[in-house]
Each structure stands twice: as structure tokens, then as C-alpha cells.
């Protein structure tokens, strides 16, 4: 979809900080607040803006430590629907956080989150491997998140500049 320059600017701005109000964004890109609101609604309707989420480091919250695993899944694609049908079967599960179709040694990369390793093991053996077109799975547990979606966790970003300078 071809977007106007202003629409692209809105996306770039919101992607960095979705808390900025239409009023502020309007000033940043030199449009009126009304025009900006309209463009944002348009982007939402077209599902280009999919949602406004917050990046949270759950590891820091007691009782929310959780476990994340990346699972390489090999599947047998079906005539007519290719990988889409099996991908949908998988991504509809709540514990599945993302699903990507991959080039290379396996087909789908599935990221799943659970409370314990057991939860994940159970999901893989009971739900995932039992799907008819799934040929094999390889599960990798994530030990530590350093950077996620462009955001560095535990990053000290204090302003180190002197307060007034020429």
C-alpha cells in the first residue's frame, strides 16, 4: 500500500512512542490536530497500525518470570492452502506469541510463552506434535532477553551531557 509522506511520518513517530497524543504529533509533522486524527484512524482501519502495545520486562515482576521457547517446526504443506492453514491452526493458541514462515532447514518458527518449562513441554507434545501436518519440532528455550523488538532491556540511558553548554 502506498502511503503519503505524512502517513509514513506518523507511523515512524508512533512506532517509537505510541503515547504521543495526536495534538503533539500534529505539531511535529506540521498538520492540524483534526487532519492528524483522521490519518491515524485511516491507518488503524487499514490495519497498518495493528495495535498499541507496551514493552514490558516481565522477568522483573515476581510471579511473572515465565519461560519462552522458540520452536522450529517442519510441516507438510497442503495442496491449495500451502502453509497458511497449519500456521493458523498454530497461531490461534493463546500461548503462541508469534509464528513466522521461514526459509531454510525448517518451515515455521513458533515462539511460545508458558509459566514453566513443563507447560511448554506439554504444549509441544500434546498440541503441536499431534497436528497432522507437523513432521517434527525442535524446541529452544530462551535463557535471557537482551534486546527485544529494537529495545535493549536494562539499558542505562541517563543523559550524560552537562546541563548548559555553548
Amino acid at each position: 500500500m502506498k502511503l503519503t509522506e505524512k502517513e509514513t511520518e506518523i507511523l515512524e513517530i508512533l512506532e517509537e512512542d505510541s503515547r504521543l497524543t495526536p495534538e503533539t504529533i500534529a505539531k511535529m509533522i506540521g498538520l492540524s490536530e483534526e487532519e492528524t486524527k483522521k490519518l491515524i484512524s485511516g491507518l488503524e482501519e487499514k490495519k497498518i497500525i495493528v495495535n498499541y502495545a507496551t514493552t514490558i520486562d516481565w522477568k522483573k515482576v515476581d510471579g511473572h518470570e515465565g519461560v519462552t521457547a522458540m520452536i522450529d517446526v517442519k510441516v507438510a504443506p497442503k495442496r491449495g492452502v500451502g502453509f497458511d492453514e497449519i500456521a493458523e491452526r498454530i497461531y490461534r493458541f493463546n500461548e503462541v506469541k508469534s509464528v513466522y514462515l521461514m526459509s531454510g532447514a525448517y518451515d515455521l518458527s513458533v515462539v511460545i510463552e508458558g509459566k514453566t518449562m513443563n507447560d511448554i513441554a506439554r504444549f509441544v507434545s500434546e498440541k503441536l506434535s499431534t497436528l497432522e501436518s507437523v513432521l517434527s519440532t525442535t524446541t529452544h528455550f530462551i535463557l535471557k532477553k537482551y534486546k527485544h523488538d529494537g529495545i535493549i532491556f536494562d539499558h542505562e540511558d541517563k543523559d550524560k551531557r552537562i546541563v548548559v553548554s555553548p
Binding site: 512512542d17 511535529m28 509533522i29 551531557r161 552537562i162 546541563v163 548548559v164 553548554s165 555553548p166
Partner: protein
């Protein structure tokens, strides 16, 4: 023999030099908690990682010795290519480019190489604080030429011409300007060039903010017809490349000037820091971040200028750098009173315009090199402060 008072040993030139007016606000602001500073004259971005990493690599590989006086040849070559690609300038890396310790040192050796005792240098104000003191240290006489808010702080050729005497040696210009953000168009540069040619003057052009130009294509002084021989071009990595602490800048000028400046440079500095030169090499080779930073400043500029105007402080839309320079005349306060009260009452630090020259009186400099979060809060506080007056 008993020693005289220590003061009496000092150079008269240095004794007579006024300390920068910025110092006072630094001391005030530095000791307060919860201050939002719009007083910072440097990028809020940390130097891009690829550049920092290149420096680390150079240290790992043991590049810790001196470089040639004029700087690493590869770096001068890269600077030469960059100046050609970006601004259509042609400088010979072997003889016309010197890598310096920031634009600051570049300005220093430029003045020291062209000024004879008593020579006058026309300084377009408001401007960066070090031009006049450096002219004085070089034995010259700085002559202030005012520009005005009503003319968006553009150089007015008629006024400029009035200050020319038989002693005038050079015109010092800076575009985009600190503190006004004003960018001179090709036509406006040509008007200055005309005067330089008519009166046979040099131009020292501080183009350190050239990468931060938001409206039209940037036009560089030496690219104006007949100006390459007359211009000493000053630039560097501090602003557009977010590398202030690296202390790396450069000079480009005709070889006659460059040779003279290299003599001064060689005896006073030897060469710019080697590790910073390796970092700069990477900064020029992979410069995608420059574009990202420029866009980010541009949006913040749009935001802050509109917000200042809404708060009741008239502010023209600056074409470049990262400063807004709103008028505070409507408040009836002087620049210093305004800045001091704003700091004490609302904890927002700005720099009073008069520290950049008398024609900056009635204005304040607000740097928008701060996060949107900080800018929004600062604008709220400034608005509240203006309403309280």
C-alpha cells in the same frame, strides 16, 4: 625578591577577556534538582554504535601512535569525497584538508593564521561564543555586526558593508547558526560573497551544522562562484554525527591557507587524537544514522516552535541546527531575567540570548536536542511561566 600578586603575571589580553555568560547559567542549573535543560548545545544522541565500535577496534589493533599532522590520509580522503558528494566542493586531501581537535581548534588556527595585529574581523551576531575571543587572542579586533529577529537573523548586506574599514580582513559567518538556527540561502550567501569580493576580504565559514538543515538543499559558502579561494571552511563531526566528546573537526581551504594553518596546528597540537580519527572514518563510511537523527530533530523543531508560539513567545521557524530562538520581548523581561526566573520558578534551563552578542538581547536559546517527553514537559512549564507574568 618577593613575588608580585599572581594576577599581575597574567596576560592582559586574557585578563580583559570576559568569561562566557553561559558559565553563570551552568553554575545555577548544575546545582538544582529536577531541571529540564534546554540549554545543551550538543546532540542528545549517543554516538552511533558502529562508530564507537570502530574506535574500539582501532585500539584493539594498537593504532595508538601519532598520525600525520594533517590527520590520517584515508580520513582526509573520505572528508574530501564527502564534501564533494554532499556540497559539490573540491578539496585536495593531500594539501587542502586538516583534521583538527573539533571545529573549535579549527577556528583558532584559522584566525591565528590570517590575522595581523589590529586586523578586524566582522562577526555576524548573535553567534557562537568563541569567535570574538579567538580573534582577540590572535591579535585581531572582533567587530560585531548585528542581525535582527525581524529579518530572521539573516545577514543584512547593507549593514555588513557599513562596518568595513581599511583594516577589515575577514567576515565570520555560521550557517546554520548557533543560536538562531538561521540558514542562509544561496542568494543570501551570494550577497555576502559579493561584499567579500568587492572589498577583497576572506570569509571564515563555520558550517558545523550543515548536516542539520531541514528545508532546502544546503548550500556551502565555498561552492559560491569564486569563493573557494576566499573561504576557510570549518566543519566537524560534533553535531550532525553526534560526536561532540570525540573532539574532531576539520578545515578545508586553499593550499596557501592550509599550509599556513598546518604550521600552527603542527606546533600547538601535533595531530588530532588517533582513535577519534578512526571513529570518524567509520562515521563517514556508514552514515545512515545521520539521516535518522536529522529527521528526528526536524520533528522536534516543528513541535517546539509551534508550542513556543502558542505559549506566547514569538519564534521564527529556524531552518537548521537544533535551536529555537524565540523572542521574549513581549514579557518585558530582559533575556537574563527571563532565563533566571524560568530556571528558579519552573526549573527549565535556557540560555539568555545576550550571551551570543548584544543583538541576542530579548531572545532566549532553547535547544530541542532533548527527548519529546522532556520537551513536552518543558513547553508546559514555559507556557505556565509566561502566563504567570
Amino acid at each position: 625578591m618577593k613575588m608580585k600578586t599572581l594576577n599581575s603575571y597574567l596576560s592582559e589580553t586574557v585578563i580583559n577577556m570576559k568569561p562566557s555568560g553561559i558559565r553563570k547559567f551552568f553554575d545555577l542549573a548544575a546545582n538544582m534538582e529536577g531541571v529540564i535543560s534546554l540549554g545543551v548545545g550538543e546532540p542528545d544522541f549517543v554516538t552511533p554504535w558502529n562508530v564507537r565500535e570502530a574506535c574500539i577496534l582501532s585500539l584493539e589493533q594498537g593504532f595508538t601512535s601519532y598520525t600525520a599532522n594533517a590527520g590520517l590520509y584515508e580520513l582526509r580522503e573520505k572528508i574530501s569525497e564527502y564534501l564533494f558528494k554532499r556540497f559539490d566542493l573540491q578539496y585536495d586531501p593531500a594539501e587542502e584538508i586538516i583534521v583538527t581537535v573539533g571545529a573549535s581548534q579549527a577556528i583558532d588556527i584559522a584566525f591565528r593564521s590570517i590575522i595581523n595585529s589590529g586586523d578586524e574581523v566582522l562577526i555576524i551576531e548573535p553567534c557562537f561564543v568563541s569567535y570574538a575571543p579567538l580573534v582577540t587572542l590572535a591579535g585581531g579586533k572582533p567587530v560585531s555586526v548585528s542581525t535582527f529577529g525581524e529579518e530572521e537573523f539573516k545577514v543584512n548586506p547593507e549593514i555588513l558593508e557599513k562596518y568595513i574599514t581599511s583594516k577589515t580582513k575577514a567576515i565570520m559567518i555560521c550557517t546554520p547558526n548557533n543560536p538562531t538556527g538561521t540558514v542562509l540561502s544561496k542568494k543570501e550567501l551570494e550577497a555576502v560573497a559579493q561584499i567579500a569580493k568587492r572589498y577583497d576580504l576572506l570569509v571564515v565559514a563555520d558550517e558545523i551544522y550543515a548536516e542539520l538543515c531541514y528545508e532546502d538543499e544546503y548550500v556551502s559558502m565555498p561552492s559560491i562562484e569564486g569563493m573557494k579561494e576566499r573561504t576557510i571552511l570549518i566543519s566537524g563531526f560534533s553535531k550532525g554525527f553526534a560526536m561532540t566528546g570525540w573532539r574532531l573537526g576539520y578545515i578545508a581551504a586553499d593550499r596557501v591557507f592550509a599550509r599556513a594553518m598546518l604550521k600552527v596546528h603542527q606546533y600547538s597540537i601535533m595531530c588530532a587524537p588517533t582513535m577519534a580519527q578512526y571513529a570518524a572514518l567509520e562515521a563517514l563510511e556508514n552514515d545512515e544514522d545521520v539521516l535518522y537523527m536529522r529527521k528526528s530533530y526536524q520533528r522536534r523543531r516543528n513541535y517546539i516552535v509551534q508550542s513556543l508560539n502558542e505559549a506566547g513567545l514569538f519564534c521564527h521557524m529556524p531552518g537548521g541546527a537544533f535551536y529555537a530562538f524565540p523572542s521574549i520581548k513581549s514579557t518585558g523581561l530582559s533575556s537574563e531575567e527571563f532565563a533566571e526566573r524560568l530556571l528558579l520558578e519552573e526549573k527549565v534551563a535556557v540560555v539568555p540570548g545576550n550571551v551570543f552578542g548584544q543583538s541576542g538581547e530579548g531572545y532566549i536559546r532553547c535547544s530541542y536536542a532533548s527527548s519529546m517527553e522532556q520537551l513536552q514537559e518543558a513547553m508546559k512549564r514555559i507556557k505556565r511561566f509566561v502566563q504567570s507574568l
